[in-house]
């Protein structure tokens, strides 16, 4: 051996020293369920599509989004975005404007003409969808992608259901609705309009359908008994809103009173304003806190000059249009109780917006159905008591929003597909939720939410122009990048950087990281410094 003076051993690397043996607990990469995904009634993988949007790859983002929801441009306008309510960023500054990014992606898709990929092969099965509302359209879309032949039968003259006949134009322009519906139909889905299914079993038999998804919605206005003179002008909210889609707009007069406290009541009052009413008054029997309408709808309605009479019920309506209104008070349990104080209100028409019932006539004679509270009961797989007949949307117990309906359609489609194949669909077990406490917010700089521009009040009160505008590219990108990526690695390199032992291996773009347990001493700095909580410490088992 030829070594320098006093040197007896070869120089060795410390790599021979496997310091991983010191460890008592080890870090592991995990994916947690972001609260937005958890809250989405349509089951969108929001964090995942924002991840692509952050990089400016809007088409990839749109494709991930539409794996769950084929109606992003509609959803970006009408969804009440429970995702934003759940968003962890809300605890930092303001929630991410998920809804506005979704709308941007939806509009971008329409502008650029992105299409859905047709199914790779046909299953040979035929599925009937009754009702072309959000639930039926979503189910048809997913069933078609599974390779089934889908026919939608719709009683109305146009597709869209309550999206067309319930949601006013100023919230959902019809060209957007038409384009998103057409894109679904372009997958090769047959749509039969103006055809009411009167007997579901007969229709299935005639056209040899293998399964059916019912989503007829809830279009029958609920009534309340209000003694009224024979000439009193009383209408129901659904008829008014549906009438807005025809040539002859409903005649409401200068003074309009709407009875009810839901979003529909506000939609009618705001519509009346736009039709030229000088007074649009909503009469509701409880308080603002108890009102089922969303707060932002109340706020916008008030801005537009709609008046709301709280704690009031309508007792009767005289011929001349004089309403007798009784003041109410809330009892200890929060129920309104009459006070015996009355006042009168002059009106040209009274619109009842007291909720809707389901027209269940198509189900007469179907065995094993359970109907409670006027809606069809379905199992966890969205199947009614009758094998092969599934149902969703407003006709089953639900919150009755477009997003819930879309979620029902997707869920039902998966179960129908499994049922047609003779199996059952079992969703993958969900990841553990990523709470705010699992994040390291130090790494997130302050960046307040980008507000969407609103139409001028003057134009809002007089036209049916859309009131909320979309984001442009730069603001949408900004908004997408506000996402904290809760519980899901977004390759910030923090773990790779902060390890004092070089025990994190970077695998390259899109491939994330790996631990080198030969050298990881289990200090846990990577866990503490991971911004998004995507690393967990687990005890070593020895």
């Amino acid at each position: 051996m030829d070594k320098p003076f006093a040197i007896t051993l070869d120089v060795g690397s410390s790599l021979a020293n496997k310091t991983g043996s010191w460890r008592t607990s080890r870090p592991v990469y995990v994916d947690r369920l972001p609260p937005c995904n958890h809250a989405c009634p349509a089951g969108e993988n929001i964090q995942s599509w924002l991840y692509h949007a952050e990089a400016g790859d809007y088409e990839a983002a749109w494709r991930v989004l539409t794996r769950d929801n084929p109606l992003p441009a509609i959803m970006g306008r009408v969804c009440y975005h429970p995702c934003e309510t759940a968003c962890n960023r809300g605890q930092l500054d303001e929630s991410v404007g998920i809804n506005s990014v979704e709308r941007f992606l939806g509009d971008e898709a329409l502008k650029r003409g992105w299409r859905f990929e047709p199914p790779a092969r046909e299953s040979g099965k035929r599925v009937l969808v009754v009702g072309a509302g959000p639930s039926g359209l979503a189910a048809a879309y997913h069933l078609r992608l599974f390779g089934h032949a889908v026919t939608i039968i719709e009683a109305g003259p146009l597709a869209g259901g309550m999206m067309r006949f319930g949601i006013p134009k100023y919230r959902l322009p019809r060209d957007v609705l038409d384009a998103e519906v057409q894109r679904i139909l372009d997958l090769g889905i047959e749509l039969r309009l103006n055809r009411k299914v009167s007997n579901i079993l007969e229709t299935m038999e005639q056209d040899r359908f293998d399964a059916a998804f019912l989503a007829v919605g809830a279009h029958i206005a609920k009534r309340a008994f209000i003694p009224a003179g024979s000439a009193a002008h009383m209408l129901d909210a659904i008829a008014v809103l549906r009438g807005m889609e025809g040539e002859d707009k409903p005649l409401l007069g200068r003074r309009v009173v709407v009875y009810g406290g839901g979003n529909t009541a506000l939609d009618v009052a705001r519509t009346a304003k736009r039709l030229g009413a000088s007074d649009a008054i909503v009469v509701y029997r409880r308080t603002r806190e108890k009102m089922p309408a969303h707060d932002f709808e109340v706020e916008e309605a008030l801005q537009e000059g709609v008046l709301i009479k709280w704690l009031s019920t309508i007792r009767n309506m005289a011929d001349a249009g004089t309403l007798t209104v009784e003041k109410m008070r809330l009892d200890d349990k929060g129920f309104p109780q009459p006070t015996g104080e009355f006042e009168t209100l002059e009106t040209d028409s009274l619109v009842l917006a007291l909720g809707q019932d389901v027209d269940l006539s198509l189900l007469y004679g179907v065995a094993d159905l359970v109907i409670e509270h006027g809606v069809v009961q379905v199992g966890a797989n969205m199947m009614t008591g009758h094998p092969g007949i599934f149902a969703g949307g407003d006709m089953v117990p639900s919150e009755r929003t477009v997003t819930v309906a879309v979620g029902h359609g997707k869920k039902a489609a998966r179960h129908i597909d499994a049922w047609l194949r003779g199996g059952s669909y079992a969703p993958l077990p969900a990841h553990k939720l990523a709470p705010f406490e699992s994040l390291n917010p130090w790494y997130y700089a302050d960046a307040p939410k980008t507000a969407r521009p609103m139409l001028d009040l003057a134009r809002r009160a007089s036209t049916f122009d859309e009131i909320v505008a979309g984001l442009d590219e730069s603001t949408a990108l900004f908004e997408a990048r506000r996402c904290l990526s809760c519980g899901n690695c977004f390759e910030c390199d923090n773990c790779y950087g902060v390890c004092p032992d070089n025990a994190v291996i970077k695998l390259g773009p899109g491939k994330r990281f790996e631990f080198n347990y030969d050298y990881c001493k289990g200090c846990g700095i990577c866990v503490a410094e991971c911004p998004c909580g995507a690393i967990e410490m687990i005890p070593e088992t020895i």
Partner: protein
Amino acid sequence: MELQTVKFYQTGTFTVGNRLLAEDERSVQANMDRTNSLNSGHRACQGCGEALGARYAIDAAMRATNGELIAVNATGCLEVFSTPYPETSWKIPWIHSLFGNAAAVASGVAAAMRVKGTPGVRVVAQGGDGGTTDIGFGCLSGMFERNDDVLYICYDNEAYMNTGVQRSSATPPAARTATTPAVGREPGNVFGTGKNVPLIAMAHSIPYVATASVANLRDLERKVAKAMEIAGARYVHIHVPCPLGWGSLPADTIKVARLAVESGLFPLFEVEYGEITGRTPIRRKVPVTDYLRLQKRFAHLFNVAGEGRVAQIQAIADRNIAKFGLLEEARTHG
């Protein structure tokens, strides 16, 4: 609509790297091809701030010099845990002589490079606070005053950790160490005096002096890279928490370092030729208690005996904030 100029996380600089940034805008540590100058298998404790700080600094210096770098090491934790004979964790030319002479040896290496005609090869000397502020202080001051072409990096973990946590001249007031126990009327390290080597280096009017923290990687890398662009004597003082000596959790190493900066106890600043030319503003100011409570060496401050001491330490932090203007131009940057 008015656009916001504020930058935000996903393309910001608070994390080590970022998939949305161009390669050349990312930190050295984000690079898959970083030198890893201090390799795996070293025997530093779990969560060692010094091992982390050394890799951050030397990797940055390696990039700044295209790998033409020789490191001289003083005795201390860094030397002991990285080179138990015959193993070494260093992937760069590295030499160790004595506890107190790293600056002098580095001066010699720099002279040797000049004589050999390889002036492109740069020299870094590094040591802990003991080897720098106490034992090697004379050699360091000489290196400064002769303006030798050396970057001296001090990894400050505020005591002699290698030999069992004895106090050094960098140990903060009131801290408990093996030689300043938390007993008696004035528990812990002496209050009122101290030795601020970055300011002493500044008094030498050398070309460049900077303080840095393992909690702010971008800032640290920028300062090391800047130092390597300058000829002559340079000094970078890096705050590196020691979980063992400070009694903090290994997982909290970066958090503790961050709180030292954010409380104002460890000000980040730059000096060129005797003038303060830069300071890193505090982003979210915290009271010193946030920092002190994470460390057992300060536990006695929260007993009856420690009453008043916390307020005195807060006064030190407040004085630093005022002196260096750490809350000025407090902007959201990143």
